[in-house]
């Protein structure tokens, strides 16, 4: 007698996709496409070259020539915001790929093997979970020096445990399914069972989680740059742009507002899309 299994763990993603009739999630998807296009095509689409200085035009308010205004060095803010999108997306993709890669590998092994192997891996996971992401990142940045790479490594180090946990619990429930037992009875070796049955079926919730996490990663990356341990001049990065102009907020609102809005909209887009995906899959497995 097997216990009740969680809802729809091994439902392939493509079968849940058509169920997303949710308009909000659709809005998120459209926004993400637009933001990605703007970021990828920034060198060609942006109205000005990325680093063109124009001290005469320093801190001019939004106008027909400069829709978002200019910063204190006279750089066009719309251009900088578009280029900032590149930085944010690169960070998000690299961080999530790194942490999901490590986390899912460890998690699937832990979940399938069970016993002491699972215990050891899960305790290590707990340690990294207890570490505040922001602070570990800061510590690493102090050590490695502030840069985009530091941000990626630092966030990934604190982020993989989530995927390990998720993959472990999914894999553990898949390990009790009849098709895994059947494969064992056919003499299929354990590594092959993991690759053939456990991993593919454990992937759907992970993919959903990744789309949910993208927003969070972008927020943390911006916060790190805001703290001065992330991207450095002259890289265009939204958090960095906010911190550079924050003292001028009262007089030059646009210099802080537009980069901030860019972060907000991007994080929002990823969050609603991820939530829509999860809703289609399982309304309950929620975490921060």
């Amino acid at each position: 007698m097997r216990g009740a299994l969680g809802p729809a763990v091994d439902v392939p993603l493509r079968r849940t996709l058509p169920r997303i009739t949710d308009r909000l999630a659709l809005l998120g998807a459209v926004l993400i496409v637009l933001i990605t296009l703007a970021a990828v095509l920034a060198p060609w689409l942006a109205p000005y070259p990325a680093d063109r200085l124009d001290p005469v035009l320093g801190l001019s308010p939004p106008s027909a020539e400069h829709w978002f205004g200019t910063d204190s060095l006279g750089r066009d803010l719309l251009t900088r915001v578009m280029h900032g999108g590149r930085t944010s997306l690169i960070i998000a993709v690299a961080t999530l790929a790194l942490s999901a890669g490590v986390g899912v590998t460890l998690g699937v092994v832990a979940g399938y093997a069970g016993g002491w192997i699972r215990d050891v891996i899960m305790r290590i996971t707990d340690v990294f979970l207890a570490f505040p992401a922001l602070l570990l990142s800061v510590a690493l940045a102090v050590v490695l020096g502030p840069s985009v790479t530091t941000v990626i490594v630092a966030i990934a180090v604190t982020w993989w445990p989530w995927y390990a946990r998720l993959a472990a619990s999914t894999a553990a429930s898949i390990a009790t399914r009849g098709y895994v037992d059947a494969a064992r009875c056919l003499g299929v070796p354990a590594p092959l069972i993991i690759l053939r049955h456990v991993l593919p079926n454990a992937l759907t919730p992970v993919l959903v989680q990744i789309s949910l996490d993208a927003g969070g990663v972008i927020l943390i990356a911006a916060a790190l740059s805001y703290l001065g341990v992330g991207a450095q001049e002259p890289t265009a990065e939204w958090g960095l742009m906010v911190v550079q102009s924050q003292t001028l907020f009262t007089t030059n609102w646009w210099a802080v507002t537009f980069p901030g809005l860019a972060i907000l909209v991007t994080a929002f887009a990823f969050n609603v899309l991820g939530e829509g995906l999860r809703g289609a899959l399982d309304p309950r497995s929620v975490r921060t």
Binding site: V138, V143, P283, V286
Partner: protein
Amino acid sequence: MPRYLTRRLGQAFLVVAGVVALTFVIMRVVPGDPAVAFAGPKATPEQLAAARERFGLDDPLPVQLWNYVRDLVTGDWGTSLRTRQPVLDDLFQAFPASLELVGAALLLAIVVGVPVGVLAARYKAKFPDLGVRVTSMLVVSVPVFWLALTLQTVFAGHLDWFPVAGEYDRVLDTTSPLTLWTNITIVDALITGNWPIFTSTLEHLVLPTLVVAAYPMGVIAQMTRAALIEEAGQDHTRLERALGFTETSILTRFSLRPALGPVLSLIALVFAYAIVNGFLVEAVFNWPGLGRYAVQSISHADTPAIAGVTLLVAVMYVVANLVVDVLQGVVDPRARAR
């Protein structure tokens, strides 16, 4: 239950031990030579040697780790490079203010988030639900430091409704000095009946609390909504309908309690998140808490101080999880059986 609790305590202890080891690795092993960091880049060889001697850097690593653990346990968390004070003293000074801010924020987040989640679940797919979903998604997606700057500029700067920064008006320290009991200003002001400081702190709290509460409020509302909708799909909801209960009564009297389980485990996570988010907010509002201390330490590359804050926050996370696990049993009888 007691056996389960002992096991959880054991696990928590292991995690704390792991955190200490990890901190040690990051602080002592990765940076290369901490002696340079302490004595400064222009230090003479003699000064360097003295620093080495002082930190025991010539000992083998396991001995250093052992010494590190021994120092931590005996209350020696190192000396801040910036304030030149024991880190533990600095932490004790800053911690209560952070607790004040985060406590207020979480209270607000729960008091608003749970009812709002219930509202959304009751009118699922109708207008209130859509409103709650969009709003909660927005507050979860907003960068805290930017929200802090914006609220500060608009409500404190332009409109002048609230004070710009600080914990309370420092002038009051001379006109009505505060007697310290718990070191948490608002609590001390309340129990000693120091109304000028109490109201001043309250005024100063509003904006930073709103900013720190934004994220937790959003996730708690989302989680409450999701958990309630999940409960509504369970068989028992159908039985309760068949017994003649109204939808609202089913939601609040039968579904809310089992739904609070997942919300509770979320609160432990959100607590840790709020503390760290609080760091950015404290820096903006010049709140005299851990966050301001951490941010200042970061800009001075004050490694012992950063390590201290990291360790403290990690321990708090572990403790918060333990507390939530115990509460879980109170809320959900099924959890007690485990």
